[in-house]
Amino acid sequence: MMDIAWYLVLSAFIFCIGVAGVLTRRSPLVILICLELMLNAGNLALVAFSKMTGNGDGQIFALIVMIVAAAEVVVGLGVIVAMFRNRLPMDVDQMDELHG
């Protein structure tokens, strides 16, 4: 059986891949997908800690994170569809009207 540390390091790597994606990509769709990667890395760490302590609370946290991620996806995709309908450029660098 694997040590808990392996799972935590794996989750750190996945999180960093997600960070790299958010920093390098410009399409809002791909940025949303990379956010999913980061949330999933957090879920893996939560479940690993739940196993470490032998307590079910971490799994409840992971489930709630999944629900929040689903809500985020629904709203994010709604925004993307609205951007597409209004023929705004699909590029986060050009969506800077709120840029003080």
């Binding site: 996945i14 390098t24 399409s27 879920n43 893996l44 799994q59 709630i64």
Partner: protein, 181 residues
């Protein structure tokens, strides 16, 4: 045996995550994410979280990814690749990610948590079963359960409002006028 499963699933998870970032076509990114999510479900099974693994496959790899595929198909996934144009950021961003990864690994391995080098607590057979999760949700975490269901309702209504086709033509024309050609 279990370590073999772990390493195969971990490699698939990292490969899927890299595929998400590297693929230029958003459609292939979504497919890589499905591979990544299923590998993570295997890892959840190894951590004796059976219900979460099942929810991951059904809700995430099933429903949420179908939503993504629909939007990619609607918006047009075959547009030109949108990679960071400035060469400085293109070099610095992966370096930052690698540095963050090394730093997080050191922080985890040097944290001195007692259970981190162990294989986790010995858990009973029904540790991650739906019965146990449901019991926790309806007793200890009742308020978060209710709040999260309200959040889902709000998100569903918000998505309908956001994606609705506007009746009046004014907003579209104003946006078109504001946009520099």
């Amino acid at each position: 045996m279990e370590s073999v499963v772990f390493f195969v699933a971990a490699l698939l998870a990292i490969g899927g995550a890299l595929g998400v970032v590297i693929q230029r076509n958003p459609f292939y990114s979504v497919l890589s994410l499905v591979v990544h999510l299923i590998a993570l479900a295997v890892l959840f099974l190894l951590l004796s979280a059976e219900f979460i693994a099942a929810a991951q496959v059904i809700v995430y790899a099933g429903a949420v990814m179908v939503l993504y595929v629909f939007v990619v198909a609607y918006v047009g996934g075959l547009e030109d690749p949108l990679i960071e144009p400035s060469p400085v950021l293109r070099v610095v961003a992966p370096l930052f990610a690698v540095a963050l990864g090394v730093e997080l690994s050191f922080a985890i391995l040097g944290s001195g948590l007692k259970g981190i080098d162990g294989k986790g607590a010995h858990v009973a057979a029904g540790f991650g079963s739906p019965a146990r999760i449901g019991e926790l949700f309806l007793t200890k975490f009742l308020i978060s359960f209710e709040v999260v269901s309200l959040l889902l309702l709000i998100a569903a209504v918000a998505a309908v409002v956001l994606a609705r086709r506007s009746k009046s033509p004014e907003p579209d024309r104003r946006l078109a006028a504001d946009r520099p050609s």
